[in-house]
Amino acid sequence: MAYASHIINHSRKLRHVPRLMRHDHAVLVRWFSNGAQSSVCKREDVIKICPIGAPAERETVSKFVARTPVSSGLSKNNLSRTVMRLGIPMGGVVYNRELLCSHSQVLSRRGFASDAGLPPHQEIGMPSLSPTMTEGNIARWLKKEGDKVTPGEVLCEVETDKATVEMECMEEGYLAKILKGDGSKEIKVGEIIAITVEEEGDIVKFKDYSPAASDSGAPAAKDLAAPPPPPKKEPVEQPVPSPEPKTPKHSSSPSGDRIFASPLARKLAEDHKVPLSNIKGTGSDGYIVKADIEDYLASSGKEVSAPTPKSKDAKLASLDYVDIPHSQIRKVTASRLLFSKQTIPHYYLTVDTCVDKLMDLRSQLNSLQEASGGKRISVNDLVIKAAALALRKVPQCNSSWTDDYIRQYNNVNINVAVQTDNGLYVPVIRDADKKGLSSIGEEVKKLAQKAKENSLKPEDYEGGTFTVSNLGGPFGIKQFCAIINPPQSGILAVGSAEKRVIPGSGPDQFNFGSYMSVTLSCDHRVIDGAIGAEWLKAFKGYIENPESMLL
């Protein structure tokens, strides 16, 4: 009742609406519930008139406020209708714009038309059936276009991956247009699925309606269909440091981002001179908490004093050991490789490649390099080049598995495994198929040096599509099977070259040859055996006939 009298009082004041609009904006705003959004009228060129006393009130005090339609095409007429009911003369277009500006804040949650020429209508958005729902499908429409709908009647069945729910109509009217028909899939919550109008005569006007223009109405309309959220008992969950708009980054990369650490953690870090950028936060939302600083101190402290704990071990009489705490790289390596082995179906293909020609070429190239002052080219550089070219020939091996598709990369970025004192690093050589051997060699050396100095940046090791791991040469491994680096789908494990005796042309003749064993580990989801074999054939071709790499 108070609402009604307030409106009447207000209407008397409306003589001075322009002044009112500027001063009493707050009063009008108060009428609308917290969810009011200014989403509907955003475009400058559209003139809209908000009925005095605005749409949301229609629900409560429809008797008192004219149910004035909102549309630009009929603007002047509407205005005069409004005027007549409230008995107040109003100005022209300019005035309307003023109204628009101050009212834009409080426009209803319902999607009123923003297009010129369309009669007033409601846009029905995809409802949110659960707090976690982000999209759904329309199973079927129970009402056709042109049907009369009343509150409580079921309009359509909405499917989520959990359940199929009937969506009821909230308002009386006629279903003017169905935008997403039966079987429409993956409609985001809030996307407009239909239009209803109040007047039956307006239905025809929506025959060719396209939702493109009124996307801004969608977020507003969403609130309409969603059930009112249950009253929140804990309104403030993260008051001071992390409101929603400022999503704190979870990733450990500290590059220029704000570091989110609790006050206690900051104080502790300052006291102990711990750089916060090195620490990964484990508090909620990725905050660094006191325990993270303590862990860091414990680990770095222990690394320094690793030899000393022997004295403590005397307690345990039976075993003599030293506990080496995990360094960051050890943790990362462990978890990634565990994940890889657990989730990727590995299989291994091995070939022996004759590297005589390769060695000859190498010595030739190196003599040229020495003469010109370039760096020496290693066997590994040649292997990388051969692998890159093979990947160009068999691009299926240059792919990644995802649940929805296999991503085949057009760039050949090869990760090279480098062992340092700190741990195993895999820096990346980008576009290895396009680079020359000397530039590959140079890059490998540079990256290996950076790895040894622990100064690799993320861009130095991210973005690889294939890995080459070489345990031949100084390491002396004959053959081994490597573990694929996710999300890649293959890794080449290179062993050492050894001189072998091979049968010659005649029955009792033999030859010598150097053979190098390489094993390709493949992800069977992406690379089938035959494809892997094809790749190895290509690779072997390049290694055994290195001049073919020039082609």
Partner: protein, 367 residues
């Protein structure tokens, strides 16, 4: 009518000594149980017998023995001059009470619920709270306004509001919120003895609850200091502050949390104004995490003040954002299921504590 009968009774008998307290005293078992109702009754009784200036006034306090039977037996014992039934006019009898206090009497004014105190709030704030200041200390107003506060069971929006935050924001008032029988006895005695206006916020649902009381509590000179909180449960991981009924919820939540490895410290505020900031801050400095629990509305509530106090004084000791748990920001629903959802439950406190103590398992960085 009834008044005539009362006159006769006065003439006939001196106040009978109702053995309310002595009955309890005759039990010789070690841990006595006392309901909050009996605690309040005994406190009123003892204070009224100790000081003849103390008198009780309110709706149904006399003949009806108290709307919640808090003042049972007091009319018979002390007579109608000291236990006065009033008409249904809070503004009226609160004003009379304040006037009596100006004169030097010590009234205890009962509101049937504190929602009705809104009718008399001008007297509480302007006549009582501010008088000492405005009279340069010449006028003291030793009045106690007491009654049930907050949500009961199914009494609807107009009878369920918590007034702790409202009154606690007023300088000149003292606001007390007992939880157990010990709190009720000690704080009510302290309130009656206090020379300044005290708002004593009880809780209807706690009246019938029993708590163990020691002999010290039962002693007639027992008194609790105003402005000191009590640490009901000592803990290490998270501090939970609560008052009135919510202390019970917080203690239950602490038991549940213990099973999950979180050791919660529960503080029973007892006094909302003055707030025991030193106890709260010391506790937060120890545990580094704070959850405030209250039944009232969240905005500008007791939890907001506690959070501000902690942020002002112990910011560097906070390891997680302060969590406020309060009633829903809506007028209390009438439907029982909705009412349950509008008031903090034990699960809410448990969830908030887990959020405050949250640590994720360290994830590998993308390489």
């Amino acid at each position: 009518m009834l008044g005539v009968v009362r006159q006769k009774m006065l003439g006939q008998s001196l106040p009978k000594i109702r053995p309310v307290v002595s009955v309890l005293r005759s039990y010789s078992s070690a841990a006595k149980q006392m309901t909050v109702r009996d605690a309040l009754n005994s406190a009123l009784d003892e204070e009224m017998s100790a000081d003849p200036k103390v008198f009780l006034m309110g709706e149904e306090v006399g003949e009806y023995q108290g709307a919640y039977k808090i003042s049972k037996g007091l009319l018979d014992k002390y007579g109608p001059e000291r236990v006065r039934d009033t008409p249904i006019t809070e503004a009226g009898f609160a004003g009379i009470g304040v006037g009596a206090a100006y004169y030097g009497l010590k009234p205890v004014v009962e509101f049937m619920t504190f929602n009705f105190s809104m009718q008399a709030i001008d007297h509480i704030i302007n006549s009582a709270a501010k008088s000492n200041y405005m009279s340069a200390g010449q006028m003291s107003v030793p009045i106690v306004f007491r009654g049930p506060n907050g949500a009961a069971a199914g009494v609807g929006a107009q009878h369920s509001q918590c007034y702790a935050a409202w009154y606690a924001s007023c300088p000149g008032l003292k606001v007390l919120t007992p939880y157990s029988s010990e709190d009720a006895r000690g704080l009510l005695k302290a309130a009656i003895r206090d020379p300044d206006p005290v708002v004593f916020l009880e809780n209807e649902l706690l009246y019938g609850e029993s708590f163990p009381v020691s002999d010290e509590v039962l002693d007639s000179s027992f008194c609790l200091p105003i402005g000191k909180a009590k640490i009901e449960r000592v803990g290490r991981d998270v501090t939970i502050t609560a008052f009135s009924k919510m202390v019970g919820h917080a203690l239950k939540a602490a038991e549940i949390l213990e099973k999950d490895g979180i050791d919660a410290e529960v503080i029973n505020l007892r006094s909302i104004r003055p707030l025991d900031r030193s106890t709260i801050n010391a506790s937060v400095r120890k545990t580094n995490r704070l959850i405030t629990v209250e039944e009232g509305f969240p905005q500008h509530g007791v939890g907001a003040e506690i959070c501000a106090s902690v942020v002002e004084e112990s910011f560097a000791y906070l390891d997680a954002p302060v969590e406020r748990i309060a009633g829903a920001d809506i007028p209390m629903p009438y439907a029982a299921n909705l009412e349950r959802m509008a008031v903090p439950q034990v699960e809410d406190i448990v969830r908030a504590a887990k959020r405050a103590c949250y640590r994720s398992v360290p994830l590998a960085a993308a390489a």
